[in-house]
Amino acid sequence: MPDLQNFPFISTEEFAGGCVRLGERLKREGIGEVMLSHEMGGVYGLIVRREFVACSESDGHESEDEDEEVQNGGAVEEEEDEELPILYFNLYPPASSAQIPASLQQVYENLTSAATRDVLKSVGIQGAISQTDHPVLGVPYYFVHPCNTAAAMGEWQQRRQDGGEGMEDFTAEKYLTVWVGVVGGAVGLFLPSECMV
């Protein structure tokens, strides 16, 4: 697979190719799959992964010590003349079989670590996470602002180079793996180590 032409940016074609490779890898590891679709002049890769996480009630009410289940669906999207992917995701609190998205506060409390929370909340008007109508699905989804993606990927590259590693063999599939870790990591989405290229 050819190297990226213009890191930290990724073209639509590179993104699509990376999704396909990543999907093959996820499937081999039995972790999930990537469904690729071309819609509205863009390319969308939907990573389907269900993870059940036990966490405690965080709203301050007296509670029984029940475990809650949260369900993460990650949707990755890139628009045609955008050079950076955007991560769309949702969080469904338990007992919401009707798939009702959590509040922004619940997203921060359940998906972000204390370390990153303040940083995420401090950018923009009300933080780096916003809601929008998903461009394909049409229902409310959260997304991570792409404004800092280029810088974050650049920082990752810098650390790698400081560590003596170059950018040879840096394919689109690698990019996506890193990207999910960098951007997705901020909201608790990551690929297991078996998926690291």
Binding site: E82, P135, P140
Partner: protein
């Protein structure tokens, strides 16, 4: 004939408004359906959250549970459909009343008599379909995201918007809320008047409704200008088999049918919504 005011169209767009009549959901009212209606004229380019505080104050004496009557819990419904608060009010009206401004049938027009009647609810916010309003900043945040997206479509990056000074950025939002044309365009003109790579365009098809957004360049490969007709034919060929004549649906912007041969770039510069997009709703022809 020369227009004396080169900003005439922008001013006309800015001053368009929808007279609204807001009723309280009878199920939430102490007096069932006998609470007063709230009459308000809403600018086409404004957003419902701008008026939520006023609506709340007006209806608080009538609601069964006043604790619930907060601006963040208010949602508006038209004919059983929750109205998306991040869409401009003029777009909501044009799309959901489905009125065809060019229809000759007067009786049909009577169905869409103004004022536009909406029902306000404070309970049971439909979070599956409507984005949440965490507070006043949410509407600002959402609008700003759209402004950045439009910039990205125009230029391939959102640098122009990101490099506005804090004062300019604040001016944009404040002047939108206070409905100040001169203040708003003193900042917005430079964002919109660029040599755009693509036109920020969104098409709204009634019923679902379905939103179509695709990058559309200002010129065709032949170097001829992209028109409303050529764009519609490219994006929705099943609804626009001809790029010259509207056959199945008419494109409506700010309540007015747009001629199919209108150059898209010019239309964007004159009739763009404050969020940077050309929102075009389709009126199905009977």
């Amino acid at each position: 004939m020369e227009t004396s005011d080169p900003k005439a169209i922008r001013r006309a767009v800015w001053s368009g408004s929808i007279p609204c009549k807001i009723l309280l959901d009878p199920g939430e009212s102490r007096v069932f359906d006998a609470s007063d209606p709230y009459y308000v004229i809403i600018p086409r380019i404004a957003y419902l959250p701008f008026f939520a505080e006023r609506v709340c104050s007006f209806f608080r004496p009538f609601v069964i549970d006043p604790e619930v009557a907060k601006p963040e819990s208010a949602w508006f419904e038209f004919e059983s459909v929750p109205m998306k608060w991040h869409w401009p009010v003029g777009l909501l009206y044009d799309l959901f009343t489905g009125r065809d401004p060019a229809a000759n049938n007067v009786e049909e027009d009577d169905e869409h008599l103004l004022p536009w009647t909406l029902i306000v609810h404070f309970r049971d916010y439909p979070t599956k379909y409507l984005m949440r309003l965490e507070g006043p900043a949410t509407c600002h945040d959402s609008w700003m995201n759209t402004v950045k997206e439009a910039d990205h479509v125009r230029n391939g990056s959102a640098k122009a918007v990101m490099s506005l000074s804090k004062a300019e950025s604040t001016k944009l939002w404040d002047s939108l809320q206070s409905h100040d044309f001169d203040q708003f365009w003193s900042v917005n003109d430079k964002l919109v008047s660029v040599q755009a790579r693509n036109i920020p365009l969104r098409l709204y098809i009634p019923s679902a409704p379905r939103v179509v957004q695709q990058p559309v360049p200002p010129n065709l490969p032949s170097q001829e200008p992209q028109t409303v007709g050529t764009a519609l034919r490219t994006l929705l060929p099943e609804l626009f088999p001809s790029q010259r004549v509207a056959v199945l649906a008419r494109p409506v912007v700010h309540g007015v049918v747009v001629a199919m041969n209108t150059p898209l770039l010019e239309l964007m510069r004159e009739a763009v919504y404050p969020d940077g997009f050309l929102h075009i709703s389709l009126a199905m022809m009977s």
